[in-house]
Every structure is written in structure tokens, then in C-alpha cells.
Symmetry: C2
Subunit: 405 residues, 2 copies
């Protein structure tokens, strides 16, 4: 059985690594706080007697041996965060995996299959794009060499940062396909809380499209330059940002659109900006609609840049098609929740998750627990202790079935 | 007579201080390059035998004695720049002042009144708002203690930076009202070039209004947060930016509006921004129209913030009413140009200038020379050598009249 105090203790302890003054954490991928979190995780894995591996993109997993050899059942998520992250996003899935190991140890239980608990590099994609990078490379959807060369928002190169923090491991990527993959995660949205449910049986993940636009105009004097002579990169960027919002408004749910980054250069009060950078994050469960949204955005970006006399550059930062999880495994999640007296809701995930990179290669599913107020990627992210423990219990039950199957 | 080679040599030499790789300079006020430029200027003043003073806000002036005591005729401008500044903005007026001294020395000429050449602190306002700070404090329009406490875009405090670079002088501010003030400057706009003229007789400066808006929303997950639940500070900021553009478009020339700064926090691709900062620079020659523009902007900012569920903060960074220069002195500039065979155009200034801070207190005027392509606050800012020398010639002629009057 799950030891709630032990699970919560580990979540709180990991939450002290990269802790922010007002609460929450900043453990941007491959920064110093991420390293400290990794060190703590590896120590915990070793204390639990797991055999720890680190692969060439810095993914960490620990294996608890089974009665038989063969591919393990893997429970995994991530411990990196956005710059204003909560305590549960990612950490819950990894630490609940450790708690499953500990609970099996408590019961003196040796399972048929081996059990692996994994933490994947840079799931957030906040410092280095794309997101789900470690799991993507692990499962062959992303190219290792390309990812090692990615330049972060602070100019750092991913491979060099892996070396710097000592987590460029010796194990080759794509070396392991688990027998099945399970991820417990906070919902990060409002649905479960609104419906008064404790467990979500996640059916899949919506498609994700990230584009970075750079506009090149002409810097000039704010007081002397007639409006008609301006090539204002910032103005074109604002128009593209509002087009993104209009796309989401026009298409309606589940389409979402977010401009998280806008940077002007030189960025001075009395200088018409010569350069502007913005990112647009578009998501939809329906890939055809997502493609239409992307096309409309690109056409609008070109038109607004041209109207302002700016040159437009665009760069795809991430593109993942919608993913469906294994129907049988989703049903098992539902059944396990029901067996604990917890009605579950089938729902797609709005956020990207490491699980989606495993879905094409092995039976995969996810378990959601509620996020208070639907808030995530915010230091106020919160999930009640009972919900956390309930989710870990369902994870344990489904994992056990898979471990003995 | 003006020695063109000597004037151009000093401009080029000062242009090596804070030089940028692609051309132009970055001498943001009170930074290391500004200090180096000040050191060079003081050396040149001393070589010309001027008596150098530095006041409590860091303004520098050098005085060439006259036959009589009494208030000097002052020729001044600034040597600070924006981050992507040209070689002529400000530097021309100061170095042409030195050239007038040198020309008088060449001729062995002692004038009736003393001649002062001045460089004022932080005319640009790019690092520390407001602009025209040194001349404003010098002439009593801005409060010294308030200005010493201003925090710059990099978090530095103005008074501490003055101390750091060694230019918090002993001379009290408001210690000198000149007999007259003259400033030679590049136009920074397209008018003179378009009309094929070499000299502008500046009639005044349009009103300047700078406002900083900060929007406080809620950071949240880009994938999971339904559009209807968002409080996206960046989206509200984009709407305010486009409202500023619409105000300028609707009012028509001479109204201009510029959003030079837009900053999102945390500024990550998959996080709805919780905070956005933007600046709006509004200008008009007619203060009533400028006030109407300000009122429309503020009302729109409040409405857009409210519609997005964001809290709005606003802060006035600068506000200067339109200024008219001395009609008799403007006529002298025109006459001096005509006497050199240079038809001059009467025109208002789109940019703010140190001269405007003197206009309420003594006869004041300005001389403009053309800016190639109307480009300024850009490293490509350029004015032809003949134009620079012609402008300095008119400055010399008008200064001589005033020095003997
Ligand atoms: N779960 C989660 O927050 N993933 C980050 C990737 C994304 O969905 O933007
Ligand atoms: N001349 C000039 O560029 N002044 C800077 C102040 C402003 O007009 O923005």
C-alpha cells in the first residue's frame, strides 16, 4: 500500500530544490537546480536498491529486478520545471514511481517483470525546445545529435549543459523499449476539479505546434519618424500575437493559442523596434484543425510582416501530432480507479507528456489527478494530498497488474 | 572659419568611444562608454583652454572668457546615445561648439561675452527616464533629488552611476542661466533631405508623453488552460500596443505613437504570461491633441486590462509640453543661413532636445542639418560632411552675433 506521508515527504523535499521565494520551483532543464534535483533522485533510487542508468541525453532510470528478465514496466515523468513551476508537475509521476517501489519493498514483493522508474530530460521545453525531448530521443522520435545542438533561451547549448552538470550518460539512447509505460501526472487544467472527480483516465494528448517568428524591421526615432515611413517590427509582432488569439477564439474549444514570448530589440522607449521575436503555441486534439490553424497563422504573419515592411523568419520549435493511448490500458486505469471507489473520467490531455513518446512503441496510458483552480506553470499550482495519494494508489494497482501479466 | 577636417576628426574620434561592430555607438547615459566619452571631451575642452565645470547632475561645460563678465552664450547638446545610436545625434552639437571655440582661437578673436560649450547628462532617456534630464535639472524643470533616485532599465540608480563614473560634480545645479542658448543637431527625420535643403531653422519642439504600463495577469499552462479562463497579460499588452498605433493613424500627422518596450514574464513558450510591461511614446505639436491622445490611450489600456482580467499599473516616464523657440533668434538662424547662400526651412522638431529646457529662461533656438533617409536612433544614422560643416558655419555666425550683441 502507498505510504502517503513518505510520498508527500519526497515531493516536499524535491520542492526545496530550486525553490522560489513565493513558493513553487524553478528547475529549468539542465540548470544547477535540475542537477541538484537529479542528484537527489539518484540517491533515492540507490537507497531503494534500484540499478541506475543515465543515457546520452541525460534520461535517468532505476530498475527494480523481477523474477524474470525482459523488458520492464516503466513508470516515468520528469523533474525539470518551467521558470515559475509548481511542486507537482512531473515530480509527482517520478516520485510516485519510487513510492510504488517502496510499497513493493514494504510488502516483500518480487514481481514477475522488472519495474523501471524514469525521469526524462527537458520535458518542459521551456529552456530548450522542443518539449518531451528526453523521452522523444529515448523512443526515437527525435534525433540525438540534433537535440544536443539545440541552443536555449539563454544561449546555452544543450550538449554542453549536459556535460557541465555531469548528466551526459554512457547508455545509448533507444536502448530500452518497456513492456508498458504508465505516467501519473497532475491534470494542470480545470476539468477534474470542476466535476468533483479524483482520477482522470487519459485517452491521449492533443497535437502541439510551436513556432518562433522573428521580424526584421528598421530601428528609427520615435519622435521624428512619420508613421508612414516606419518598419516597426514590434507592431507587426503585436498583430501576429492578436491573430493567434483570434484563431483560438474563432475555432473555439479545444483550440488554444498562446504567445508566451515577445522580445523587442533594442527595446528602448524612444526607438522604433528593429527586431521582434515571438512564439506561438497552438494546440488541438484534431490534427486537421491544428493544421488549418497553423496555415492561417502563417498566412497572417506573412501579411502583417509585409504590410509593415518587415522581413519575416519563422522556425518550428516543436510539432507533435495528437496521440491516442492504448485503449485496453486506459480501461485498466478506469477499472483500477473504480475498484478503489473512485469514479474516473476519460479525458484528453491538454499538456504534452513523456508518455506520448512511448505510445507508438508500447502500451501506454496516463493517470490524472486534479489541479486546484486549473492552475499550472504557476508557483500556485496545487493538488490536495488525498488526490496525490489516490493517484499513486491507482498507479500502484495498474502497475502491479502489468508487472505480473 | 570652420575647419571641417578638425570638426569631422573629432566626430570620428568620439565615434570610436562605445563603437558598435556594425557602425554607430552605444553610449547609454552614465555607462562606461559615456564616461570614456566625457573624459575625452574634458580633455579637448582643457586643450582649448576652457574653464571646465561639472554640476551635481553631471552636466559638463567649458567657458571661453569674453572681454566682459556676465552670462555666457551657450552652445550645447549631449554625448550620450541610445543603445543603437549614430555618430551625430548630440555629438555634433557639442563638437561643433568646440569647433566654434577653435575657430575663434584661430582668428585670435576675443568676444564681448563669454562662450560656453556644454554636454548635458542623459538627453536620450533610453537608460534612465525622462529624457533631457541634465538640461532639465540645469534649468529647474526637473528636480535634482528625484532624478538622482531614478532607476534605469538595468536596475542601476542614477546617482550611484554618477558617483561610479566620477561625474557627480561640485557645481550646484541652476547655477547658470546663459544669455542665449543655441543647439546644432541632426534633424533625425526625413524633411530636409526630401526638400533638398541643408539647414533647418527649428521653430520649437513637439510635446512628448511617455507612459509605462504594467499588466498583472496569471501565469498558466498554454496547453490546458481554456481560452475563457485566461488572464493573459501579454495579450492585453498587444492590444494596448495596437491601440497606440491606431491613435496615431486616426489622428494623422503630426501625431506619432511608438511602443519601444514590450517585456513578458516569465517569457516562456508554453506559459501564459503573468506580467507584461510596455512603454508608449506619444508626441504632437499641439498639446490639446496630445492630451486627447493620452486620454484615449489610458481609457483603452484600462478597458483591455479589464477585459483580460488583468490589473493595470501605469507610470508617467516623461511629459514635456510643446515648446516654441525665440522668434527673433529663429529669424537670425534663417538670416545667417541665407547669408551663406543656404535657404533654410522653418520646421518643428520631432525629437526632444536640450535646447527646449532653456527656451523658457533665455533666448533659444536650434539649427538642423539633414539625416540621410530620415534615419536616426539607428547605427546607420548619417549626415554628409558638407551638411555637417554648413551647420557648424551657421552656428558660428549666429554665435558670433550673440557674443558681440
Ligand atoms: N506537462 C507539461 O507541462 N508539459 C510541458 C510541455 C507542454 O505541454 O507545453
Ligand atoms: N534628439 C534625441 O534623439 N533626443 C532623444 C529624446 C527623444 O526625443 O526621444
Amino acid at each position: 500500500a502507498i505510504d502517503g506521508a513518505r510520498l508527500l515527504g519526497r515531493i516536499r523535499r524535491l520542492g526545496t530544490v530550486g525553490a522560489l521565494p513565493g513558493g513553487g520551483v524553478c528547475r529549468l532543464a539542465l540548470g544547477d537546480a535540475d542537477r541538484a534535483g537529479r542528484d537527489l533522485l539518484v540517491r533515492w533510487m540507490e537507497e531503494l536498491g534500484l540499478a541506475v542508468s543515465v543515457d546520452a541525453i541525460g534520461n535517468i532510470w532505476g530498475i527494480r529486478a523481477g523474477r524474470e528478465d525482459g523488458p520492464p514496466v516503466m513508470l516515468g515523468s520528469h523533474i525539470d520545471s518551467v521558470a515559475t513551476g509548481g511542486l507537482y508537475d512531473g515530480a509527482l509521476g517520478v516520485l510516485a514511481g519510487l513510492e510504488v517501489c517502496a510499497a513493493l519493498d514494504d510488502a516483500g514483493r518480487v514481481t514477475r517483470r522488472p519495474l523501471a522508474v524514469a525521469a526524462f530530460t527537458n520535458e518542459e521545453g521551456a529552456r530548450f525546445a522542443p518539449d518531451m525531448m528526453g523521452s522523444g530521443v529515448h523512443q526515437g522520435a527525435l534525433d540525438l545529435e540534433e537535440m544536443l545542438a539545440v541552443v536555449g533561451i539563454d544561449g546555452a547549448v544543450l550538449g554542453a549543459e549536459l556535460d557541465r552538470i555531469g548528466y551526459r550518460g554512457a547508455v545509448p539512447v533507444r536502448s530500452l523499449t518497456p513492456a508498458a509505460f504508465l505516467e501519473l501526472h497532475v491534470e494542470q487544467g480545470p476539468v477534474l476539479e470542476r466535476e468533483g472527480l479524483r482520477i482522470g483516465a487519459v485517452t491521449g494528448v492533443q497535437g502541439i505546434s510551436w513556432t518562433e517568428f522573428t521580424l526584421h524591421g528598421q530601428s528609427n526615432h520615435a519622435g521624428t519618424t512619420p508613421m508612414a515611413m516606419r518598419r516597426d517590427a514590434g507592431c507587426a509582432a503585436a498583430r501576429i500575437a492578436l491573430e493567434a488569439r483570434a484563431i483560438a477564439d474563432d475555432l473555439g474549444p479545444p483550440q488554444v493559442a498562446t504567445v508566451g514570448v515577445t522580445e523587442l530589440s533594442p527595446g528602448l522607449v524612444n526607438v522604433v523596434p528593429e527586431r521582434a521575436k515571438l512564439t506561438v503555441d497552438l494546440r488541438n486534439t484534431d490534427d486537421a484543425v491544428l493544421k488549418a490553424a497553423e496555415a492561417r497563422l502563417m498566412a497572417a504573419a506573412e501579411a502583417h510582416a509585409a504590410a509593415e515592411g518587415c522581413r519575416l523568419e519563422s522556425r518550428r520549435l516543436a510539432r507533435f501530432a495528437p496521440v491516442e493511448f492504448d485503449a485496453a490500458l486506459v480501461a485498466r486505469v478506469e477499472a483500477a480507479a473504480a475498484a478503489r471507489g473512485l469514479p474516473a473520467r476519460r479525458m484528453p490531455s491538454g499538456a504534452g507528456h513523456d508518455a506520448q513518446m512511448f505510445a507508438p512503441n508500447c502500451p501506454t496510458a496516463m493517470i490524472f489527478v486534479p489541479s486546484a483552480g486549473g492552475i499550472s506553470h504557476n508557483i500556485a499550482e496545487h493538488t490536495g494530498a488525498d488526490d496525490l495519494v489516490a493517484g499513486a494508489g491507482v498507479l500502484l494497482d495498474v502497475a502491479l497488474e502489468l508487472l505480473e501479466a
